[in-house]
Amino acid sequence: MIVVEAFNWILAHQTEFFSAFNRHLALCLISLAIASAIALPLGFWVARSQKASFVAINIAGSLRSIPSLAILAGTMPFLGIGLLPSVVALVVLAVPPLLLNTVVGIREIEPSIIDAADGMGMGRREILWQVELPLAVPSIIAGIRTGAIQVIGGAALASFIGGGGLGDFINAGIAIMNMPRLVVGALPIALLAIFAEVFFGWLQRWLTQRR
């Protein structure tokens, strides 16, 4: 069985496997963190204006339709190969869904809630932290969920531009026509994506039900 062979290979090459696995995970987490640091504040700022929100939602929507591989390939002419272009590409991949969901999450807050907050004398900052952010969190989590899945899959392709990670096993597997080796890369990636989907989905539901 291919899966058993793949598992045996992992047992025999634990250092190699976990170094790739950790790198893959790190690539995903770093990219998601940077993307969040960009998209969340930008989303809150953009959501102030209806026009800006409309523009941002449309741009983010069209960016999302660009295939991951095209984005990864697109960074190479500018940044060469290695870790940096991979991270940049993954950030570009993750920003649109995060931005989209942040803007939508804030715009969907009932205007009367903000009006009441204003009318009681809450300041901009108080409204942001005590009202808008908590109310937009379920939508933002949904954005992180989409972004995480995009990034986990995208990171598999980072191997093409020298980003390393589990994609290396897939590429090696294809190059030497070794199916178990391919599975060593593909299966953990699939499991990571499923885990992200289930975890953030649960988190989103939990946060939504709480109110």
Partner: protein, 315 residues
């Protein structure tokens, strides 16, 4: 006292005045009902009192002070704000919602806690049951009770209420109107209430301000307005039954004559409205009704003629 001095408001991109040279004096401790057709500028007028809107011209004074010189946040924390949609924070418990302004003012926990219990009791909600609930677990009427309590939290002198009962079913609405009116009198607030319901304005308002196209058409007590509409628009706005409406504002006691010799037929209480006396007279086709107190003392008589004369009498 709230004083609007020749206040005008133009919204950007709109060719006409939303509010047009409005003068309005509101005495402390009174309730003023702003009423008029949709779009006549009621909400805008109200929102200029807590600086949610800025007048394009004119001034708004609170207790003699021009509010354009007061930080809007400080001003708003001193003014209760109630809106039709309530606007409770859906992610906060009822107690946290009610504690919003005390939190902004930095009250300590003990004081805030006592105040929450006091307010929930005041608006007819059991603190033990309600404190930890979330807004979505409440009925529409209960939510507006919480909204009202939240507005009263820091004991503001002034209350602004924009169609507070507009989204509430008719039966609950009447109940809430009665309860809120009593509470507002008890805590002697100065109230500006926007409504498009004439009966509500008559019931809640010490004075009614009738608006049209951003202008003030008439500003007086409900009785006076119903007796003498300022113009044809106000007359038609009040409706053809305005004389009957007015009867509900006058107590039998103020129009009755001394008790008659041979009492007979149906009776009314001194505190009943002329509306009820009229209904009683019509029902039994009487010449008049005897006025009897709850403990059975006959204190007066109200004739059909005296009742009919009431419309032109007391202003």
């Amino acid at each position: 006292m709230i004083k609007l001095e020749h206040v005008t408001k133009n919204y950007e991109g709109s060719g006409r005045h939303a509010v047009d040279g409005l003068d309005l004096d509101i005495e402390n401790g009174t309730t003023v009902a702003l009423i008029g057709p949709s779009g006549c500028g009621k909400t805008t007028t109200m929102r200029m009192i807590n600086r949610l809107e800025q007048p394009s011209a004119g001034r708004v004074l609170v207790n003699g002070e021009d509010i354009s010189g007061i930080d809007p946040r400080d001003l708003r924390r001193r003014i209760g704000y109630v809106i039709q949609q309530v606007g409770l924070f859906p992610h906060m418990t009822i107690e946290r919602n009610v504690a919003t302004v005390p939190r902004l003012l930095g009250w300590d926990k003990a004081r805030t806690g006592r105040r929450i219990d006091e307010l929930l009791d005041l608006v007819g909600l059991d603190p033990a049951v309600m404190r930890k609930r979330l807004p979505h677990e409440l009925s529409g009427g209960q939510r507006q009770r919480v909204g009202f309590a939240r507005a009263l939290a820091a004991d503001p002198e002034i209350m602004l209420m924009d169609e507070p009962f507009g989204a509430i079913d008719p039966i609950t609405r009447v109940k809430l109107q009665d309860e809120f009116r009593l509470i507002l009198k008890k805590v002697s607030k100065t109230v500006v209430m926007v409504t498009h319901d004439l009966d509500e304005a008559i019931k809640m308002g010490d004075r009614i301000a009738i608006m049209r196209d951003g202008r003030l058409l008439q500003y007086d007590t409900p009785q006076a307005i119903l007796a003498k509409p300022a113009d044809d628009f106000v007359r038609s706005f009040l409706g053809k039954d305005r004389a009957i409406k007015r009867l509900s504002l006058i107590e039998v006691e103020s129009m009755m004559s001394p008790a008659r010799e041979n009492p007979k037929g149906a009776t009314v209480y001194p505190g009943d409205s002329l509306h009820i006396a009229l209904s009683t007279i019509i029902a039994d086709d009487l010449e008049g009704v005897d006025v009897v107190t709850v403990d059975g003392h006959r204190v007066g008589y109200l004739s059909r003629d005296a009742l009919f004369a009431a419309h032109t009498a007391a202003g």
